[in-house]
């Protein structure tokens, strides 16, 4: 009987440790990192995952239960280049953050936004620009798919110029060549430090460059 008593005590404890998404007994740090979890309150759990939460006994419960919905990351951390993975995993948050900062500009009303992203991997750059454009349109901003162009000579010169000077220079050249209309603002999203995932956003309006 004593063995059964201890079994009844230990089984729930061991079970809760095994099912805990945190690293520990039975789950490595790598496995935990590849889970995407969100904490939910009881109402949300009952609405989104009906039947998974047991009813509380009419005599009350003696333990506090945390409810957390976890799913395996579709792309594990080591399946993509680390920097790309970090950026893309939080793409929606980053795009929304950039859009909010852009809209907060004092002269944002009535402008047409052109979005360019500069990132080592062109596929990731395209996704980044796409996300920011969508975020701006969803916030009732005017966005154009037009891509301002530079002459081949400009591109050669800009390629040999340090980034700090290249962006203001490119902005001036866009204005000089008439690539940007009067109400156009070109947003350039760049990765300033290749060792980091911090994105910088600059804007080019009427030939004037400004970091946001």
């Amino acid at each position: 009987m004593a063995a059964i008593f201890w079994l009844m005590i230990l089984v729930p404890v061991v079970w809760s440790v095994i099912t805990d998404p945190a690293p520990g007994f039975g789950r490595s740090k790598a496995a935990s990192r590849n889970l995407a979890c969100e904490q939910l309150n009881e109402d949300a759990v009952r609405r989104r995952y009906p039947g998974t939460l047991e009813e509380v006994s009419s005599r009350g419960d003696f333990v506090d239960i945390r409810t957390m919905a976890c799913g395996a990351r579709i792309m594990a951390y080591d399946e993509r280049p680390v920097r790309d993975g970090l950026l893309l995993t939080a793409l929606q948050e980053r795009a929304a953050d950039i859009a909010q900062k852009v809209i907060a500009q004092p002269d944002a009303a009535g402008r047409t936004w052109l979005v360019e992203a500069f990132y080592p991997d062109p596929k990731v750059a395209t996704k980044l620009a796409f996300a920011v454009k969508a975020a701006l349109v969803e916030r009732q901003q005017k966005v154009s798919d037009r891509v301002p162009t530079l002459a081949a000579g400009d591109v050669l010169v800009l390629g040999a110029t340090p980034p700090v000077r290249a962006y203001p220079l490119a902005c001036a050249r866009y204005q000089a060549e008439g690539s940007l209309a009067a109400d156009d603002t070109l947003l350039m999203i760049t990765l300033t430090d290749p060792r980091d995932v911090t994105l910088s956003v600059g804007r080019c309006t009427a030939g004037e460059w400004q970091w946001i």
Partner: protein, 398 residues
């Protein structure tokens, strides 16, 4: 004592189980669909279904408008096979749902890279990005729009971003939307030819589930009862083979409690003819509701009234097991023992059931009115209760 402890544990575990049948079924449904739909492309399909369904309810354009499918990009790191699947699904959705007011336009020059030279310089770009070039090759139809879709795996969720651009010199983006799947939420697997809202699709699953849950089923069982040999020396009773038929009903939507009533018949040439009437209650112990995907385990209790006639009856009436001589005498009519008896039996067993169609069970049976007979032994005992019968059965429900 050990058996008692195990049973007590099983009952303790089941004591707090809620009877929220609807919720339990829903949870099973979720688990089943999660298995099927956990694949990335189905989640992506689900997002496209939602997008096009919303377009049919509130179209972007007031009238049918030519739209070229400019690009569909899969999550970074995944191949072009997925891209083709997604492209085909989106095209199929748009073709089958004309209420979206989007008419797919065939425009190879729009998605190809074109070279356009003008006085400002030479531009190399896709056709949709250079409307001037499209106009020159005659591919720019009035009102043409370009549809871009981009999928990305963000943590455990799939995010779909869509934008529609009017193909004019200014290339204005006229529509953009972001849709995301929830963490761990399975796809709804909607039919592309009759798109439904997420709520309607979910209700359709539940209706389909409930349609197959008949409350009353016809049960047929083949059972074998073997009796433990007693201390008396003699010939042991041959097992009784039974054919039972009856009706079963589920007391709850989750089929956690079942009850059935059956009559049985057993016959062995020259040995016995027997009839039974049994009532039985089954309790699901392998979950909170009948599983849609796995076999279910039930614990059952039954009470049976058995009436039997024939030579075998001697073993149920006498404290001395029949010998070969007794049997021969009975067969030849030399002796005329009382050839019939009735007794009650109480049964406990475990039943494994597949999809409410086929089941198999093993059971122990106590014959309390025959406890004192030395012709019957016992297989095991639970306190004062002797189990003299061990049996197995196979059943079919209709």
């Amino acid at each position: 004592m050990d058996l008692a402890c195990v049973l007590a544990l099983v009952l303790l575990q089941q004591a707090d189980v809620p009877q929220g049948a609807h919720d339990a079924h829903l949870a099973q449904l979720e688990a089943l669909r999660a298995d099927v739909a956990s694949q990335l492309q189905l989640t992506a399909f689900d997002l496209l279904d939602t997008l096009v369904y919303d377009w049919t309810q509130s179209p972007i354009f007031g009238a049918p408008t030519p739209v070229v499918l400019a690009s569909v990009t899969p999550p970074a790191g995944l191949g072009t096979g997925l891209q083709a699947l997604l492209e085909n699904h989106l095209a199929s959705l748009l073709v089958h749902n004309p209420r979206s007011n989007i008419t797919l336009a065939h425009c190879p020059a729009c998605t190809e890279v074109v070279v356009h030279s003008a006085k400002q310089g030479t531009v190399i770009a896709r056709g949709v990005d250079t409307p001037e070039a499209l106009a020159k090759v005659g591919a720019l139809t009035p009102g043409l729009h370009a549809l871009f879709a981009d999928f990305e795996a963000e943590g455990a969720a799939v995010v779909l971003r869509v934008r529609v651009t009017r193909v004019t010199a200014a290339l204005p983006v006229v529509y953009a939307r972001t849709l995301s799947s929830s963490v761990g939420t399975p796809a709804l697997l909607r039919d592309e030819q009759s798109l439904k809202s997420a709520g309607a699709a979910r209700q359709e699953y539940l209706d389909a589930l409930n349609q197959h849950e008949a409350r009353l089923t016809w049960v047929n069982r083949f059972a074998v009862r073997s009796f433990a040999q007693g201390e008396s020396q003699g010939i042991a009773l041959a097992p009784y083979i039974w054919l039972e038929t009856g009706f079963e009903t589920a007391f709850t939507e989750s089929r956690a409690w079942l009850g059935n009533l059956a009559v049985g018949f057993s016959w062995a040439p020259s040995l016995h003819t027997a009839f039974s009437l049994s009532a039985r209650a089954d309790r699901l112990i392998s979950g909170r509701a009948r599983s849609l995907t796995n076999p279910d385990l039930y614990l059952f209790f039954a009470g049976t009234l058995i009436s039997t006639t024939g030579l075998d009856v001697a073993a149920f009436k006498s404290t001395t097991a029949p010998t070969v001589a007794d049997l021969l005498a009975g067969a030849l009519g030399v002796t005329n023992p009382e050839l019939s008896t009735s007794f009650s039996a109480w049964k406990i067993g475990l039943e494994l059931r597949v999809k409410n169609r086929i089941h198999t069970a093993v059971f122990l049976e106590a014959l309390p009115s025959l406890n004192d007979l030395t012709t019957l032994g016992q297989f095991t005992r639970l306190g004062p209760i002797k189990f003299q019968t061990l049996g197995a059965e196979v059943g079919f429900c209709f």
